[in-house]
């Protein structure tokens, strides 16, 4: 079931088109990473989704409510943490969350709800401190707590770990992962490890267009490389190749390197899991396997390949139009 549906969404700032007819849906329970280089249109998409910015063309529906026709109903289902957390720094954490509770007109038990959210994001012990005296990590948590007020079905987080130190990044990621157990989350970032660590789906946005949308595995498969493994064996190139050729079901293999003692191969197992067969074959041949790791492309490689492809297509289109 789709909780967010974006159809032909276009946003123009004057004559500049920031989003160009983008379409995507987010299913219930997804943790979707919205990836893209700086200025790709991620924050604009999120700002439109949350009703902060208006759209030029197209439609955005949140839990069945159109963001333009039924903004209040749509907004009730969304918790939003913008890139700069919207904090009233002269308030204490408790005062701030209490204000957000009233602002969102929540019908739950106020004290109990705020306490449970503070417990969830681990800010209970700083509840009586002024927000301006908190560290950046805690401010980010307060911003996250604000987004959680009212227990919204959808959480939209715009670069939630930007500017945090490594320890704080891990903590915030853990919080997001636990929140994703019973919520739909859209997470915008340009840190690829973050998507790998937290998300189960990725939408890559580039130059205001959707460049790709799929699961991490399928995206890796789409550029080739799914089922590929790299092995390092203590044997010569010929001996190693001889053993690999005998493995039944292997699609192909490629020799990569020999450093005088160790040979490196990349084997393509396709859809099948041939790791036990590879292990047994080398064991039978009495050749030790020193390293066995996945050679599937990383998200970085997927991202670079997709965005580079987009750039190439754009350049070709520009050249063609210049010739004409």
């Amino acid at each position: 079931m789709s909780v967010i549906e974006i159809k032909n969404l276009t946003k123009k700032y004057g004559t500049k088109t920031v989003l160009d007819k983008i379409n995507f849906t987010v299913e219930k329970g997804d943790i979707m990473g919205l990836l893209g280089p700086n200025g790709a249109g991620k924050s604009t998409t999120m700002n439109i989704l949350t009703g902060y910015l208006s759209l030029t063309e197209g439609s955005v529906s949140v839990c069945g409510f159109d963001i333009l026709e039924n903004p209040d109903e749509a907004k009730k289902h969304i918790g939003y943490l913008p890139e700069i957390p919207p904090l009233y720094i002269d308030m204490t954490v408790l005062e701030y969350l209490s204000f957000v509770f009233d602002l969102k007109k929540i019908k739950l038990d106020k004290k109990e709800h705020i306490n449970s959210i503070m417990g969830m994001v681990k800010i209970t012990h700083v509840q009586n401190r002024l927000i301006k005296n908190l560290s950046k990590g805690y401010k980010q948590r307060v911003g996250l707590a604000q987004a959680l007020i009212g227990d919204p079905e959808i959480l939209i987080l715009d670069e939630p770990t930007v500017g945090l130190d490594p320890k704080q990044i891990i903590e915030i990621r853990n919080v997001i992962r636990s929140l994703g157990e019973n919520r739909t989350i859209i997470l915008s970032t340009h840190i690829l490890q973050e998507v790998t660590a937290v998300c189960n789906k990725v939408t890559i946005i580039n130059n205001g267009k959707i460049a790709a949308q799929d699961t991490l595995e399928n995206l890796a498969g789409s550029i080739g490389g799914k089922g590929k493994h790299q092995i390092k064996v203590m044997a010569t190139r010929e001996k190693g190749a001889e053993v690999i050729k005998k493995i039944y079901g292997l699609l192909s293999f490629k020799f990569e390197d020999f450093d005088g003692e160790i040979s490196t191969f990349v084997i393509d197992c396709g859809e099948k899991d041939l790791r036990p067969d590879v292990f047994n074959a080398f064991a039978k041949a009495d050749i030790p396997i020193l390293e066995f790791k996945s050679a599937e492309p990383t998200l970085e490689e997927v991202f670079i390949k997709i965005t580079a492809h987009d750039k190439k297509v754009k350049e070709e289109t520009n050249n063609e139009s210049n010739v004409q």
């Binding site: 009703g51 209040d72 939003y80 904090l87 720094i89 009233d102 007109k105």
Partner: protein, 235 residues
């Protein structure tokens, strides 16, 4: 609206702004009361209220300068706009909070009519209409200040602009009151002379058109503020 009102009203008194406003307001009230009412042995508060109108130039600027500017500069307007609250609710909450601070100052200022009543016998209707006119006039100024605050992220610019615009309102009043100005000019600018209509209230005359005029000014500037907030989404 209620949440917004509570937040803003508390905000005034959690910071020096509310205390400065009420303190300066009462200080000048007391000064004008002694120097103009008691020294002149006047039985009305007309002179005190008239002089207080000059002080509003900077007092209203202090009161309204941060109302929207601060939200925009700290990006907290994102929280307000992304919440299921109508822009009217947000604007009204802020406006009423600023008016309530004026209300606090006016409650304390009731001491002056009480003192006056001890030494003389001021007509009650004049006192009530003076207060009513004063409230309507200052609430109009607050609406203008709130609108100006929604135009800029910089609080200082907001304060200076509010001061400037209210100063022009006073100049308009001067233009309409002097006989050197052509009649047609006086008629045109008279529509913007907020102070002109206030003088009738001081004399104990509450005219419905004047009350409607002030409410129209308030509504106009609140509407413009709301439009300004909504317009930012389409930038």
């Amino acid at each position: 609206m209620k949440a917004m009102f509570n937040k803003e009203f508390r905000g005034y008194f959690n910071s020096p702004t509310g205390y400065i406003f009420v303190g300066v307001f009462l200080f000048f009230c007391a000064m004008f009361f002694v120097n103009m009412v008691i020294v002149n042995q006047s039985a009305t508060l007309i002179l005190m209220f008239n002089s207080m109108n000059l002080i509003c130039l900077f007092l209203v600027a202090i009161l309204t300068m941060k109302l929207w500017s601060e939200e925009m500069s700290r990006k907290t307007d994102q929280l307000l706009i992304c919440s299921p609250v109508s822009p009217w609710g947000i604007v009204m909450g802020k406006y009423l909070a600023a008016c309530a601070v004026l209300g606090v100052a006016l409650v304390f200022s009731l001491i002056f009519p009480v003192i006056l009543n001890i030494f003389s016998n001021p007509p009650l209707s004049e006192l009530i209409s003076s207060y009513l006119g004063f409230i309507l006039l200052w609430c109009s100024f607050i609406a203008i200040g709130l609108y100006i605050s929604s135009l800029t992220e910089n609080q200082m610019i907001s304060a200076i602009l509010t001061f400037g615009v209210l100063f022009v309102v006073f100049l308009i009043n001067y233009l309409t009151s002097t006989t050197h100005t052509a009649l047609w000019i006086r008629k045109i600018v008279g529509a913007f002379a907020l102070l002109d209509r206030y003088y009738d209230f001081q004399l104990g005359m509450v005219s419905i058109p004047d009350v409607i005029y002030y409410f129209s000014v308030i509504f106009l500037f609140l509407y413009l503020t709301k439009q300004n907030v909504v317009k930012r989404r389409y930038k």
